[in-house]
Amino acid sequence: MSIADNASVKQQEPFKSLSGSSLSFGLAGWLLCLLTPVMLLLGLSVGPVSMDMQQLFQVLLHLFTDTSSLDPAMAGLQTIVADIRLPRTLLAWIVGAGLAISGAAMQGLFRNPLADPSIIGVTSGASLGASIAVVIIGSSISASEQWGGLSILVLGAFVGGLLAVLTVYRLSTGSSDHFSSSSTSVATMLLVGIAITALAGAGNSLLAYMSDNETMRRISLWNMGGLDAASQPRVILAACIIVPAVFLLMRFSRQLDAMLLGESEARHLGVDVQRIKWSLVVIVAFAVASSVALAGVIGFVGLVVPHMLRMVIGPGHRRLLPYSALAGGLMLVAADIVARVILSPAEMPVGVITAILGAPLFIILLRQRRDYGMY
């Protein structure tokens, strides 16, 4: 334990001049904690049906009470907030948090700044699963047939994502290592992940090629990501899978700090490297597969949010992981608000917004910290 502590201290040394000051850490923390409720409230108050602050306040007061006591107009507004905006905002928050913390964990595990949650093949696997559901199953039964608010599409994506990760993990685990009977090479996992991503992408393209125009457009729209299908069952599912995953990932901060030194160094520091790899991959797979299944492919959050935070608060995972979760949630809620307002009453795919909002911010930060490195 103390050794691992040591490691994390060692980690921060090169960063001391940049971000070690408690001011920027405190400021970032306060800012995130302050902005989160503001953004969540904004998420509830903005939409095509206009509503003033007083009405919103009244609706929020009666959010979980019986609507029959309200007059019809207020009851309508309450349904809109409770059944549309609340699930949507919460889903954005949870998915954003899950993607960002998964990204931080994957970047730490792979010691690669380009790593993001999709690196282990989960996103493309989920896309393929969804496409298969839409094309093959969808032609016999409706792809949107609801089972408690969850469609075949959601199930297909979830199963596809998990299967892809399992394949990647199995293929990159062998017994060639001298230290243990079976070990996973992180570099191999990275490459197998790329191969599986390519393969699943090819499968996706093949399905798009074989399917008719409508189905293809549907797949491509779904792949752009969107939170407009948010519903209470989906939020509950997200809360049951992604939220525990977020908290579980936070427990790996010391081990991830040690891993930054290098795998063998971490092993010498007493970290069970193989177990960490397996656990992280499994947790991230569950978190990301369900987020893709529930909200489509949302890029950028998982890649960029952890980097932005590293630039501000340094690479120590004890802070990086929870802050990534907070910032990721914040960013996706904000992006979703923009997505529904900018073309209202039409919707913009949220994945487009995250990139448009995130990329300039990221570049500004990068230019301020030209010497930014991950470790």
Binding site: N204, L206, D228, A229, L343, E347
Partner: protein
């Protein structure tokens, strides 16, 4: 995806390279035909929907047709037997099913088309894209691009087809038949009390069509008003909340199979929408409503009848409550 793109590019490059041989041979052929035609007949010039003039010295009798709607329309004017090859999904009328296929919705067999040496290629623009049309033209083929936005445009399409194929009588007959039916529907329904309408393309992601789509024209013909007609995109994504905000009195979806019915079920949760409250959420089991061909009026008629029914139930309800 990352793997397939370079492969596709390579394939594409090979495809183009291989075609140069064919085109060269063909270009000479076209040249001689043009010079021959000059002293024979005055050329027919039709401006297509891309604004490009299509010159034909003699009526086209050998056609390649990309777009099921165009195939249908050609049969309507009696030019069905001129079709050498067509695209997938050309399934109406029955005879169209046996036509050779040279394209699916996203891939066109350019080589096959060139080797058929058609007098004219007719292409549904939004179905196959401007790029494909440009490519066909660059291969020395005469191309008529069609992009009907309104119900009136379909009448023009039939007339254009008549000029292009020389079947003026057949086209006149078909367009008169179409015009008469359109006028009839217009007289019967378009002056009726306006009903606000939401058309759902599909549920997830929820999409509708704006005012530029021929569907909008069909809705207006029936005396309906598309609540999202003013949106800039042709097939905009909308949310349940935007539909609640628009509060349509009539919600519908259409398709050739009954799959779409289940995609409408979710509306039952939103009883604040007038259409849901009055049970005016409908599925039209027709494929003709989304085909830009004369048969679209069959679908439009069904829509008009449903809308009329909805007006009547509305009145009944008002009377009952009084």
């Amino acid at each position: 995806m990352f793997l397939i793109k370079p492969l596709a590019k390579l394939f594409y490059a090979l495809l183009i390279a291989s075609q140069f041989l064919v085109i060269n041979a063909l270009a000479e052929d076209v040249l001689t035909k043009e010079t021959l035609a000059k002293d024979a007949l005055a050329t027919t010039t039709i401006i297509d929907d891309m604004g490009v003039p299509v010159n034909l010295s003699v009526p086209a009798k050998r056609l390649v047709v990309l777009g099921p709607n165009l195939v249908e329309s050609l049969y309507e004017i009696g030019a069905g037997e001129y079709i050498l090859a067509a695209s997938e999904y050309s399934d109406y009328p029955e005879a169209a099913k046996t036509i050779a296929r040279v394209a699916s919705h996203n891939i066109i067999n350019f080589e096959e088309i060139v080797s058929l040496a058609p007098d004219l290629v007719m292409v549904w623009q939004s179905g196959f894209g401007v790029d494909a049309i440009t490519k066909l033209r660059s291969l020395g083929l005469k191309v008529y691009a069609s992009e009907p936005h309104t119900l009136d445009d379909i009448e023009d399409l039939l007339r254009d087809m008549g000029y292009l194929t020389g079947l003026l009588d057949g086209a006149e007959l078909a367009s008169a038949r179409y015009r008469q039916k359109l006028n009839q529907l217009q007289a019967d329904y378009s002056h009726k009390e306006t009903v606000s309408v939401f058309y759902q393309v599909w549920q997830e992601p929820m999409q509708t069509l704006n005012g530029d789509h021929v569907m909008n024209d069909a809705i207006e013909l029936c005396g309906g008003k598309n609540v999202f007609a003013a949106l800039p995109e042709i097939a905009p994504r909308v949310s349940v909340e935007s539909v609640i905000g628009a509060n349509p009195k009539f919600i519908f979806s259409s398709g050739s199979n009954s799959q779409g019915i289940s995609e409408l079920a979710h509306w039952q949760r939103w009883s604040m929408i007038a259409a849901v409250q009055n049970q005016q959420v409908h599925f039209l089991q027709v494929d003709s409503l989304v085909r830009h061909a004369p048969r679209i009026l069959e679908g439009a008629q069904q829509l008009c009848e449903l809308l009329e029914q909805s007006r009547l139930t509305q009145k009944d309800r008002v009377m009952a409550s009084e």
